[in-house]
Symmetry: C2
Subunit: 335 residues, 2 copies
């Protein structure tokens, strides 16, 4: 078969332990011998067998990112993961998890219980699945949350300032003279959606504006959700002069609906979104958005996980990144 550590040792005239030392860059090898071994390694084209190493060390050198569904959030998250993936010693396995499918369940169960991964990062709403969370905790697998719905149990997590971002964006709209603001909400069982909602309400209150139930539409954080909600909003006797979509997809749906209705953005209606992951700048006239710092979140969560895996100390167990507002063409002062 292929060349092993033993072949190298024989040819170099030393023991396998010495070769092992050289390969793993341990101390206590005379430069002379080290060079000889290195030469033989090069000559024979020796590469360590990762499976053997994994077996004896009981480590997989693989970490997993768990996703649910797919959308622009997932896409931009994955982009960042891929960028991280070719650095470092770990392979990053991107895996979807659909609680409803038993195949999906058994796949992740196998990943966790067979110790095929050294650690796990979960993204919302995976962390709201009790089966999964329970399994992770039982297994004592190193685990980091991204934007968890329930940041309980002491699991480290990385998140963003959803509340503040929504608050600031709402204030900006109010500052532009918009007092009737439509809100396209996400599902209420998502923490991020809730935080954004609270931020929105707080900004209204702060400016002595009442929260109008009629203007806050429950919708899914996707294109059809935003599309339908906008149709409803604009059909009201007193339609809003601005719409705040709590996701990029919903904003895209809203814009499509507004176009269809012949309503000019931003002159007749201003539109803003929360996320700014994907094509917010590519859809005419460019959507003003709260930028959600996915990249930093992903990078940080992976970094934290690896520290956990390698048993290195974690200075902080919660990290919350600030959001920023990106101004584009979809907002204007109320006429």
């Amino acid at each position: 078969m292929s060349v092993t550590i033993r072949d190298v040792a024989k040819k170099a005239g030393c023991s396998i332990k010495t070769v092992s030392r050289v390969v793993n860059q341990e101390a206590h090898v005379t430069p002379d011998l080290r060079d000889r071994v290195l030469a033989v390694i090069d000559e024979l084209g020796y590469v360590p067998n990762i499976s053997a190493r994994r077996l004896v060390q009981n480590r997989s050198y693989m970490i997993c990112i768990l996703l649910h569904a797919s959308g622009v959030f997932q896409s931009s998250l994955i982009s960042k993961v891929l960028d991280l993936g070719y650095e470092g010693n770990y392979d990053i396995l991107i895996q979807t998890y659909y609680p409803a499918f038993s195949r999906s369940q058994s796949k992740i169960a196998s990943l966790i219980n067979e110790r095929r991964i050294d650690g796990l990062v979960t993204t919302p709403p995976c962390d709201s699945d009790p089966y999964l969370i329970n399994m992770i905790q039982q297994s004592k697998l190193p685990h980091v949350h991204i934007a968890p719905i329930n940041p309980t149990g002491g699991t480290p997590y990385v998140s963003a300032e959803d509340y503040t971002g929504a608050y600031q964006m709402t204030e900006r709209l109010i500052g532009l003279g918009h007092y009737r603001i439509g809100l396209l909400m996400g599902l209420r069982n998502h923490r991020t959606s809730l935080d954004r909602l609270y931020g929105f309400r707080a900004a209204l209150e702060r400016n002595d504006l009442a929260f109008n139930e009629q203007l806050a539409i429950d919708s899914e954080n996707n294109f059809p959700g935003g599309y339908n909600a906008t149709k409803i909003l604009m059909g009201l006797k007193q339609p809003p002069s601005a719409i705040f979509a709590l996701s990029d997809e919903a904003a895209a749906g809203a814009l499509f609906a507004l176009n269809e209705l012949g309503i000019k953005v931003p002159h007749q209606v201003s539109l803003v979104s929360f996320g700014d992951m994907g094509f917010s700048h590519q859809i005419w006239p460019g959507i003003t958005a709260v930028k959600y710092p996915v990249e930093q979140i992903v990078e940080q969560s992976v970094e934290m996980l690896i520290k956990l895996v390698e048993d290195r100390p974690l200075d902080v167990k919660q990290m919350i990144f600030p959001t920023t507002i990106i101004e584009r063409g979809s907002t204007a002062r109320k006429e």
Copy 2:
């Protein structure tokens, strides 16, 4: 530590080989004994150690999809990969490859040479990198191409009818009365771009229309590429009445530019694209597109690769899927 095959054997009062047989669903075990073993496995919560299995079988049960850059093509490809990922016995590692970065090179080299993967699917333009291709061939690693630039060397590949798709779409535009069609080309060193270009030209010829160099703009297959090219096209003394973008991103850029110029789509200019991966239906007024069958391509290529890995016969070594045209709001008869 954790429970091993030996523990199960001891408790069940049989040999480890028998346990192994039960676990691997081999024949030659009396139902009685099998049940007893199964019961113990369940009781002890035994799960086989994948690393040990990998070591002894010299297999990793992991396959890799190699990507270059990121865009909507990659995104929709990844979506499909993720759907496949929780089925089957293989983990699918999604990996980017940037030939310019030595870290990226050494990562993929390690993946291949240390046999950390059992097989590899490459996507364009990875297959145009000689270093990579050479390495793959040297290693004799099972390998399948997706839409290769140079389908040489007998490597199995899966692709789509780029030529025909472009031909048909062009004919459709001509049928709508468009005789001056702007073409937003991708980079010329991509086979798919070339095939699409040839299809476009063939349709023109077939309809006795001359290919106008001025209307065919070299641009990258991305948003700025399409944006800039469209600005150029519409600045011509005789601008086109229709634009054919050879990628979704370029089409989005084109649409943005047209909006910015105050040109109505489709009334003043028709716009079509090739790909239909991402948001073609989410950008007003919906972009008529040639649908590129990514999902089928990905599924098929993974299936072929696994056959290769498992040494099962491959009935076909080249598969080329047809494209279809999706009609949306961005095309109209020339006024």
